[in-house]
């Protein structure tokens, strides 16, 4: 037993290193004094200062935060109402609809991007920040749905019966019983959706119009003018924020 435990432990450490080694390297090199990513010339905060002064990057960061906030709220709105509404349907219909709704989770993102682009052109909606928000809301609805549905299934259905016995209408029960019990899942799902939106490149790439350059798009285009360690600094911040949000989201879901 003890031996296999030690082996497992070593395997886990190796695994963790495999997962986090590159990210650690990125973060360490964001403090590199040299412009070259290959040569180490001592510690420096130079690239974080450069980042602070870079207006184009800041504009992209504002775009990203805006898109993530609005699309998350939209996805929550649609996702939560879907999850609650589905609960009222008979079992088979419920499964069919749910499977159809989860499809965006398995469709390759590139296809989703192209189809969104075609759709927007078809309905003559000029590409802009709004189209990016709609695109992000679209792929985040299933994420919210999955998380909220998982929590809903764990709720004791008798709670609603009790509420009805005590004279609560459907709306009252929803408001005073279901939603409060769901709130950790809703918050968790929101944080997850926010993170996914913040990091998204492919769907954004296809749906972005004038004035809609988000951080991932900007970073990608910066590679052309040389891999500046500014990108490392920015990515390091992004990794830390994303990891924090995901950790927070998991914490909330466990509650």
């Amino acid at each position: 037993m003890k031996q296999s435990g030690g082996w497992l432990w070593r395997a886990s450490v190796a695994n963790l290193f495999f997962l986090y080694g590159p990210i650690a390297a990125l973060i360490i090199f964001s403090f590199n004094a040299s412009r070259l990513s290959a040569a180490w010339q001592g510690w420096s905060l130079h690239w974080y200062r450069a980042l602070w002064a870079d207006q184009a990057l800041q504009a992209a960061a504002v775009n990203s935060l805006w898109v993530a906030t609005v699309s998350t709220l939209l996805a929550l709105l649609l996702g939560v109402s879907l999850a609650v509404g589905l609960e009222g349907l008979p079992g088979r219909r419920q499964r069919q609809i749910e499977q159809a709704l989860l499809l965006p989770l398995v469709i390759p993102e590139v296809m989703m991007g192209v189809s969104l682009l075609l759709f927007f052109v078809l309905v003559r909606m000029p590409l802009s920040l709004t189209t990016v928000i709609v695109g992000h809301a679209l792929f985040n609805v299933p994420v919210v749905l999955v998380i909220v549905r998982a929590r809903l299934r764990k709720l004791d259905p008798r709670l609603l019966e009790v509420a009805a016995d005590l004279g609560a209408s459907y709306g009252d029960a929803l408001r005073y019983v279901t939603l409060p019990l769901l709130s950790p899942a809703i918050l968790g799902a929101g944080l997850m959706a926010f993170t996914i939106s913040l990091d998204d490149f492919i769907v954004t790439f296809f749906t972005a119009g004038p004035g809609a350059t988000t951080l991932p798009l900007k970073v990608y285009s910066m590679i052309k003018s040389g891999l500046s360690p500014e990108i490392n600094a920015l990515s390091a911040l992004f990794v830390i924020v994303s990891m924090g949000l995901i950790g927070f989201s998991l914490l909330l879901q466990r509650r």
Binding site: A56, L74, A212, M222, S225, G226
Partner: protein
């Protein structure tokens, strides 16, 4: 989260989206006062943009793309609302052909009358009806003079086995074939299948010597000493010189590519007049000179030269010496032959 909060969130989301839509449909006046510039990352200094905004009382919004192909895909996909963009010469030719580019009014572009002589009549737009060259340069070889003591003068040096594993080539099929075709005394725009086949054989022979096919980070490879010979555009080589002063740049005697990134107004632009004012502004001698200094690419406006610092003007990686011109050629459309290049390139990359 209580129901009230849910309803609040709902209202907030709708409000934000609505506000967003409203922003898109700003009053006509406001809309006329925002110029959308679609360009390469870091292609214009923020202080230059601020100056234009101040002078014309407008706002300039910059969006960035990372390759000519991305730019074309975006525009073909139906993206509208961009006013000015900067394709490279060959892509400008394609965009003109596809009707994506608006005709210019020469009366609004006085600064375009003083372009460098060789940039006044681009092969695909000889009368400057559609495209105004902005920045230009060459494709040649960056090398480390500390390692390669006799300055190379021929493309053949990229086949020198002494530098095995220390050579980088552009990750660009036309340019890589261009280098080898020139070393064979041919044009980079050849449609001769036998020549292309021979070029492919030579590239396959070279491949074991090549460390990387890199278009984006060969300045870093050169500066860090990971490669001592790099096939590439002059600007990044000039950038590498800052970190490693022993780096030099040469356009081999067989000749190299002449390129220019061109300013164009898009056909779909709702603000063509402002767009032309912007192009004219970017070509102003002092503005152009500051751009050349920042990006390490030569400005197309001859009148900018007096304002460019001497060390930039004298750097052959940035300002190609004019006596090189007879040996330089534009990359032009090869039509159907492109498929042959495509296949040969794929074969090279797969092996």
């Amino acid at each position: 989260m209580h129901a009230k909060e849910m309803i609040l969130a709902l209202c907030l989301a709708l409000f934000l989206l609505g506000g967003n839509l409203a922003c898109q449909r700003m009053s006509g006046d406001e809309e006329q006062k925002t110029l959308h510039y679609f360009t390469w990352s870091d292609y214009v200094g923020p202080e230059l943009l601020a100056e234009f905004e101040r002078r014309h009382g407008v706002r300039v919004v910059v969006d960035t793309f990372s390759s000519n192909e991305e730019l074309l895909a975006k525009l073909q996909g139906g993206a509208t609302g961009y006013d000015v963009t900067v394709p490279s010469d060959f892509m400008a030719a394609i965009m003109i052909q596809q009707g994506l580019v608006a005709e210019l009014d020469p009366a609004m572009l006085p600064n375009a009358t003083t372009l460098e002589d060789h940039l006044q009549h681009l092969p695909f737009d000889p009368t400057q009806r559609y495209a105004i060259p902005y920045l230009w340069g060459t494709v040649g070889i960056g090398y480390d003079s500390a390692i390669i003591s006799t300055p190379p003068d021929s493309w053949a040096v990229l086949w020198d086995s002494r530098y095995a594993g220390k050579i980088s080539m552009l990750n660009d099929q036309r340019e890589v074939f261009g280098a080898v075709l020139r070393s064979m005394g041919a044009s980079m725009n050849t449609k001769d299948l036998a020549l292309i086949e021979e070029a492919k054989v030579r590239l396959l022979a070279q491949k074991p010597l090549v460390k990387a096919y890199a278009s984006d980070h060969y300045d870093q490879l050169l500066a860090s000493g990971d490669v001592v010979l790099a096939h590439g555009w002059g600007g990044p080589v000039a950038r590498a010189m800052k970190d490693r002063p022993s780096i030099r740049y040469v356009v081999p005697k067989e000749g190299g590519t002449l390129w220019a990134d061109c300013l164009v107004v898009l056909q779909s632009s709702p603000r063509k007049e402002l767009a032309m004012q912007f192009i004219n502004y970017l070509l102003e001698p002092q503005v152009a000179a500051r751009t050349a200094e920042r990006l390490l690419f030569a400005s197309a406006n001859k009148e900018a030269r007096p304002f460019v610092p001497a060390h930039i003007l004298d750097n052959p990686a940035i300002y190609p010496p004019l006596e090189l011109l007879p040996r330089l050629e534009w990359m032009t459309d090869v039509g159907e032959t492109l498929r042959i290049y495509d296949r040969a390139w794929t074969e090279l990359k797969m092996q």
